[in-house]
Amino acid sequence: MAALALAVGVVLADSSIVVLALPDIYRELNTSVSGVTWVLVSFNLVMALAAVPAALIARRVGPGRATAVGLAVFAGAGLACGLADSLSTLILARCIQALGGAAAVTASLELLPATVGSERRAATVWAAAGATGAALGPAVGGILTELVSWQSIFLLQVPVALVAAVPILAVAKHEQATGIISTELRRTGRPHIWANLALAMVSAAIAAALFLLVLLLIEGWRLSPIEAALVVTAMPLAALLGGKLAEYVAEARPRAAAGAILVSGGLAGLAFLPKATIALTLPPQVLVGIGLALVLSALTETALGGRAPQAIHGGWTISARHAGVVIGLLLLTPIFTHEIDQQRHDAINAGTAVILDSPVNPLLKLDLAEKVSQRLEEEKGKVPTIGPAFEPLPEDPGERSEVQQLQGELQDQLDRGATHAFSTSFILAALLGLIALLPIALSKEVEL
């Protein structure tokens, strides 16, 4: 069971693990913001398209073999990602990674009932492993990016995927030797439309929460990847709490509804941050974390409940989740890139106004204005760090104090601009979470 959970976790973590590495990939591979977004989008898009066909193939060749081969392909493509020296190579390798991942994740759902005892328990373990992987992904990716490099994220996946594949190989060998596959070839029923639709919407909101928050922390508030990773760890920690909470409510629909509401509430909180302070991101993150644990497990259980074969319906949920991520990213990326540009412009104007209206000596003011302009030019397209523009500080204590106050006020304007730049996107993501309540209300629970 551990190997299967690890396989599901490592593959589904991959949909979000590169989030914190995107700024580094963006700089190192010399690409654009929308270009680098495709490192995320390509993986999720291929997962969305390949999950159901991969599940069908897995049922033909045997789930053990499909999981093992899927993990091997995932590991091999991970190696190619780690060695990629251009954006196009990286995106191509990510697509192949997703193909292998889709096979491994969907086929593993066919193997789980035999190891955990029931289909319901298998669905719960499978959904929990996926949710944990997706929530932990950004934190792990951020730590690796800072301590080693963005390439290490992919290179580390190679041994992890292979370790997960080894015990599964025994199942594959058994299938090959006996010619028996572990699932009976039952007729495939229709997928649960409402549960999968809700999964897609909620996944779009959750992906936005992770992606936007990470960008806000790194590009807006200038945190290092490891600092940002530590901040967003609040979400997986809260997800653990959400998992415990879910045990007290047997009904899937209220869990799903509560989860979607909490995700939306957390996102709305992030949209209305009253100050650029890390501590204020924690309560919204806790809500999103608890919410995602509640809603993802509840909807996955509903989508799989009483339906056979599990791999196919698991494929539909994977497809829905990753399609949601793609929709979320493609919908929100142009909005927040436009907003960042606009807010950067407004922040620079507001900062210039602060300099002009300050009591600092006009000649010093001119010198500062020139240095700030240089910083803006050097960090074109980003929210600039203005600290270096104020160095060296004047020796006169009075003047020094005035300049330091000016620096604080200017930084405040930049922080305000950077924080506000994400507000519209967070609100739209919150709305997606709320819209998911409609299919949740229409979804009919199946007693397992």
Partner: protein
Amino acid sequence: MTGVTRSRGFLLVVGSVVVSLVLVGAYLAAGGSSYTTEKVQNPCEPRPWSNPQSLGEIANQFTVSALDGAACKLGVSREALARALATPEERERFKQKYGITDRKLAEAVRAGLVRAVDDAEEAGALSPLIAAPLRETVQRIPLKQAIEFINDAESFLGNVNGFLGPAQNLLEDFLP
């Protein structure tokens, strides 16, 4: 489905709504909706002078008034113009971006200096005896010098008697 299970589900949903509303309400009450950059003022609107106490303070406000006047004439923000006047490279970028010729820029900067003299006179920082010839002078100076006056208003005002000729030696009596 038991009643207990249903009531737990109901409580979970209600609890989620309450917690979400409390969080969003608290953030809005703490200023979450207004945490954005301050809007810059329209340069064509008057910007009252505070009570200047020294030549440095007069120079500061003179610069701001001159920038307001020039920006108003050009139809750009005072802030964009201030950044443009910081270096020759910025000035070129600014001219290209807004399609402004040297002549138009010179006219605007001179108009800005005139507004600054008007504002200084109105605020009582400059005597009418000095303001009138100063106004005449700034309307004729070349662009480069006009920009230098804006950027280094303190030296400009400190040496203003040098430009005025007949008003020489009177300045100290009229500047506070």
